[in-house]
Structures are given as structure tokens and as C-alpha cells.
């Protein structure tokens, strides 16, 4: 449904000496119908630039975008038939108009026939729980409601693709949860293809079928959440203690393979990967013994499951290490 091939954006900045800055470098990915793909990355990674190139707001330096089989280039740069976009979140709609007036306005702009416009607008308002607020001025809405309306406006002409740039940014927990559920519904029940950008790992883990991690304009890893978690140990034991580890105890610990130890002034954590260990439980008891005999106070022993956030941090750190200095 969305195919991005060698998409690249280079800005030329500075005066009088021009300097080329690569915002996005040779990006490749494809998103199937009914799939939610999350583009994850830190600030300035190139997520928004990528989304804006896909919807034709920024012209790429090279490469191409293919939407539902149609290349987005030259005179055909009008993706609104196929794409709805929520780019500035709650600011994507007119605050001085009512919800219904906004939907009617964007519907006409997007070529919805007059006969269908009212029905479509009311249907969306109903679906997103905004029916009661249809005739209220958007400026009086909560941020979550404004965000929902922005999504409604992007969907008013029923496009098969939705692009959402940071869709839950600045929303409270309940509103963010409602938007997440709505996005999942749009993909599962209405087979819409959704590309969202975020640096919110919870959102990505909760709604995305696949994610791509983008850093410094390059896609450093792409796959399902499970694929990404594979870069980490599937699980590890964590031993938390209070006190200062002696040199002798530290030497003892260093004999245990794959162990990671992080110490602070008044205590520390010892991570013991389960996968790859010959006998994880023997290692765990060994660590507990070292802690006890070293005169430290054992605080907690628990099993930790790696999160998408861990994977993201690991991958972006690895990428930074691999970059030429």
C-alpha cells in the first residue's frame, strides 16, 4: 500500500558557504493494507520529514514514494485522494469553527460529494464519540477531542491510508488510550494502512504491527515488536542490593559470563541474562551468595522482561557507536 524506495532528503543550508545536511538518507520500507507501521526515533531523526515527503509537503532529493501502486511524482503530487494526514495534532483543524463545520470544509476541499458529506461527517463524529459536540466551537474542546476531530477530518473522504505524526503527543493517559484504540480499530475493522511516527514506546508497542527505528535519517532496524526484542536477551534476573561492593566481590562477579553490573553510591543492580546461560539458576544463587557474603543488603530479586524501550535504546546506542567519528 505504501512503498518507500531509496527516499532521501538533503537540505542545503548556510550562507554564503552552503553546507549539505542529510535529513533522510536512502530510506526503504513497505507497509501492507490494514497494517500499522510505527516509525520510531529520537527528536530530529527524520520521522516528520519522511511523513511529509510521503504526503507531498516536502519534495525528496531522490527516491520515490508509491501509494497504492501510484508513484507520487510530478503532476500526480496529489495524494489526498489516498492519504489522510494528521500533522500538527490538535492544531490541524480550525478552532474558530464547529466540529461539523470543520468536517464539511475539509470534506469539500477533499472532493466529497455534497450528497455524501453530511452522512459521512455525522458517521465519523458518531464513531469518534464527538456527536454531542458536533455544533460546538473546536476551541472549547479538550486536546484529546481536538485530536480525534483532526483524525476525523483526515478521514472525511475515506482515504485508505492515514499518516499520523505523533498522534498522542501531549494527551493525557485516557485520551492517548482512546486514540490508540481508535487507530487499532481503523486498521483491523476498516483495513486502513497507517503510518505513525512517535517516540512514545508504549504507543508503538500497543498499536503497531511493525516498527522501524530511524536515527539520523537512516532506518537502523525494521520488524515486528518481537523481532526487535530479539536484539535483547529475552529475559534476565535482576538482583538489587544496597551498600558498596568490595573489590573481591566484584572479582567474583566478573567470573560469571554475560553478567551486567551497574553500581551507584549506595547500591547497584546485577543483570543476569537467562538466554545463553548454561545454568541460569545456579548463576543466580551464586550472585546472591556473593552479595550476602560481601556484607551487602539484598533488596530485591526479580525477573525482568525487556521492553521496546530497551531495544530502542540499545539499537540507537549501537548505531551511534557504529557511526564514523
Amino acid at each position: 500500500m505504501i512503498r518507500v524506495e531509496n527516499l532521501r532528503k538533503v537540505y542545503s543550508v548556510g550562507w554564503p558557504r552552503r553546507k549539505a545536511i542529510e535529513a533522510v538518507g536512502s530510506l526503504n520500507f513497505a507497509i501492507e493494507r490494514g497494517e500499522i507501521f510505527g516509525l520510531l526515533g529520537p527528536n530530529g531523526a527524520g520521522k516528520t520529514t519522511t511523513v511529509k515527503m510521503i504526503c507531498g509537503l516536502i519534495r525528496s532529493t531522490s527516491g520515490r514514494v508509491i501509494l497504492d501502486g501510484h508513484p507520487l511524482s510530478g503532476h500526480s503530487r496529489w495524494p489526498s485522494r489516498l492519504v489522510g494526514a494528521v500533522l500538527e495534532g490538535s492544531r490541524n483543524v480550525y478552532w474558530n469553527l464547529t466540529a461539523l463545520e470543520n468536517l464539511s470544509y475539509f470534506g469539500r476541499l477533499r472532493g466529497v460529494r455534497e450528497a455524501d458529506l453530511k452522512r459521512r461527517a455525522w458517521m465519523l463524529l458518531d464513531e469518534f464519540g464527538l456527536k454531542e459536540k458536533a455544533r460546538d466551537v473546536v476551541g472549547t474542546f479538550s486536546r484529546g477531542m481536538q485530536q480525534k476531530l483532526a483524525i476525523c477530518c483526515a478521514l472525511v473522504n475515506d482515504p485508505p491510508i492515514l499518516l499520523a505524526d505523533e498522534p498522542t503527543l501531549g494527551l493525557d493517559v485516557a485520551s492517548a488510550r482512546a486514540i490508540r484504540a481508535k487507530l487499532r480499530h481503523l486498521a483491523d475493522e476498516e483495513s486502513r494502512t497507517i503510518l505513525l511516527t512517535t517516540h512514545n514506546m508504549q504507543l508503538a508497542a500497543a498499536v503497531c504491527d511493525r516498527v522501524g527505528i530511524i536515527d539520523k535519517g537512516r532506518l537502523i532496524r525494521e520488524g515486528t515488536i518481537a523481532d526487535l526484542l530479539d536484539v535483547l536477551e529475552t529475559a534476565s534476573y535482576v538482583v538489587e542490593y544496597a551498600g558498596t561492593l568490595s573489590e573481591a566481590a566484584a572479582r567474583e562477579l566478573s567470573r560469571i559470563p554475560n553478567l551486567r553490573h551497574s553500581a551507584e553510591d549506595a547500591g547497584g543492580e546485577i543483570h543476569l541474562p537467562v538466554d545463553g546461560a548454561e545454568s541460569p539458576s545456579r548463576d543466580l544463587y551464586g550472585v546472591i551468595d556473593i552479595v550476602r557474603t560481601g556484607g551487602l543488603r539484598l533488596l530485591l530479586v526479580h525477573e525482568a522482561k525487556p521492553s521496546l524501550e530497551d531495544a530502542f535504546i540499545r539499537l540507537t546506542e549501537e548505531d551511534a557507536d557504529a557511526m564514523p567519528r
Binding site: 537540505y11 507531498g56 509537503l57 519534495r59 500538527e88 490541524n92 483543524v93 474558530n96 470544509y105 476541499l109
Partner: protein, 265 residues
């Protein structure tokens, strides 16, 4: 054409909704224009106080028409710039670009809708001016043609200024500078300027058109039988500005997309 009609309808409904919602602001706009005009009119009248009644009536008619032409021309002139600024500040400009095939058409439809609404606002203003000054304005069909050509030229010029705003940002003072110049054209005549200067300034949109319009309204021109020799230069001037304006705007839009500047101001 159907697309433009649909866009016009969308814009007209949006404008009417805003007009209804902010009725006090609308009334304040009309009152401001009325007070500015009366200030200028009374000052000029005190300067030419000993003129013949017939001359005074002609002067007053010219001033009323010049001012009304200025009213619309200044609206059109700052139109593109103002709308780009407002949309960027609201955060809706990129949404408009994504939602429409040709943003230029959205601007044209929006201008047509604003013009329609301004015509409605113009009726009380016009009535107030006529009542206050006691002038009677002749407005034959030929004057309508001149008026449209005048505004088309200004629209083309407005697209050039709007294009500059897309690329260079914060160029709000540019339309203002030209509005001051247009105000001068509205109240004086090109013929009063030194030779050479008048020829140069008459190349600007509005300058020649408003002179013709004032002459028609005051009855010093052919009126209903306006000659081709008068209309043709106006038409060429307007067409030139519209063509250059569209070309400049499309080029700057393309450059802004290359530089990733659309969403900023």
C-alpha cells in the same frame, strides 16, 4: 470549474460562519474604514473649501470611488499574505496543501468568497459614505469591467507578495507599503505627478484602473461607452500581473517544498 465551484462553496460557508460568529469585529471593520475615509474627506474639503459646488461634487465623487476601490484593492493585496500567515499560525496550512490538489485554487476560491462577503459588508459602508458626503455615484457596466480588471491585477500582485512570504517569511510589511501607495492613488491623480514618474507608477496594478474608475464615476469620461484604448492597457496590465503572479507563486511553492518551509512562518 466544478472543482472551483465546490471550493468556493466551502470557503463561502466557512467565511459566513466566521462572519456570524464574530459579528462585532465585522461591524468594527466597517466603522474603521468609514472613520478613516471621513477624516481624509473632511481634511481635503477644508483645503479646497472655496471651489465651485460642481467641482466640489466631482472631487467628492472621485474621492468616494477612489476610497471604495482602495477598500477592495487593499483587501485583495494583503489577502494571500494574510491568509498564509493565519494558516501557519493556526497550524492548518500544511493540511490545506495536503487536502487540495492546487493550493492556488483554494486561494482563488477563498478570495472569491471573501469578496462576496465583503460586498455584503460594503453595502452599509457605501450607504454611509453617500449619506455623509451627499454624492451620487454613477456606476455603469463599463465601470464594473474596469473594477474587475483592477482587482485582477492586484490579485496577481498579491500572489507575487504571497510567494515571497512562502520563501522569505514574515513579509507582512510588504503589502502594507503598497497599500499606502494605493491609498495615495485612491485620493490623488497620476496626472499630478512629474512626467516619467507617472508612467512608471501607472505600471503598478490599481494606479491606472482607479484613475479610469474615478473618471467614469464623476462623469468626466465616456462612461458607458468606454473605449478600447482605455480598456486594453488595463486588461494587458491585469493579465500580466495574473500570469506573473501565478508563475511566481507556483515557483515559490515548489522551492518551499524543496526547502521544507511550508509549515513555518
Amino acid at each position: 470549474m466544478r472543482c472551483l465551484g465546490r471550493l468556493y462553496l466551502a470557503e463561502l460557508r466557512r467565511r459566513l460562519a466566521l462572519l456570524r460568529r464574530y459579528a462585532l469585529g465585522t461591524a468594527a471593520d466597517v466603522a474603521t474604514f468609514y472613520l478613516i475615509f471621513m477624516g481624509i474627506f473632511l481634511s481635503m474639503r477644508s483645503i479646497v473649501g472655496d471651489a465651485q459646488p460642481e467641482e466640489l461634487a466631482q472631487l467628492a465623487t472621485g474621492q468616494v470611488v477612489g476610497f471604495l476601490a482602495f477598500y477592495f484593492a487593499s483587501m485583495v493585496l494583503s489577502f494571500v499574505n494574510n491568509h498564509l500567515r493565519q494558516e501557519v499560525e493556526q497550524g492548518t496550512l500544511e493540511q490545506l496543501f495536503v487536502s487540495s490538489r492546487w493550493f492556488l485554487l483554494v486561494l482563488l476560491a477563498r478570495l472569491a468568497a471573501s469578496f462576496t462577503v465583503d460586498l455584503v459588508r460594503f453595502i452599509p459602508l457605501c450607504a454611509l459614505l453617500v449619506l455623509s458626503t451627499g454624492v451620487s455615484i454613477r456606476f455603469p457596466p463599463a465601470a464594473g469591467l474596469v473594477f474587475i480588471l483592477l482587482l485582477l491585477g492586484v490579485y496577481g500582485f498579491s500572489l507575487i507578495l504571497g510567494g515571497c512570504a512562502l520563501l522569505f517569511k514574515r513579509t507582512g510589511q510588504l503589502p502594507f507599503l503598497f497599500q499606502i501607495l494605493f491609498l495615495g492613488f485612491g485620493f490623488s491623480s497620476l496626472a499630478q505627478l512629474p512626467k516619467g514618474v507617472d508612467a512608471f507608477l501607472s505600471l503598478l496594478p490599481f494606479a491606472r484602473g482607479v484613475t479610469v474608475l474615478k473618471a467614469i464615476a464623476a462623469g468626466t469620461d465616456g462612461g458607458a461607452t468606454l473605449s478600447w484604448a482605455t480598456v486594453m492597457p488595463l486588461a494587458v496590465n491585469a493579465a500580466g500581473y495574473v500570469i506573473v503572479g501565478i508563475a511566481v507563486f507556483l515557483w515559490t511553492e515548489r522551492r518551499a517544498k524543496q526547502k521544507g518551509l511550508l509549515g513555518r512562518y
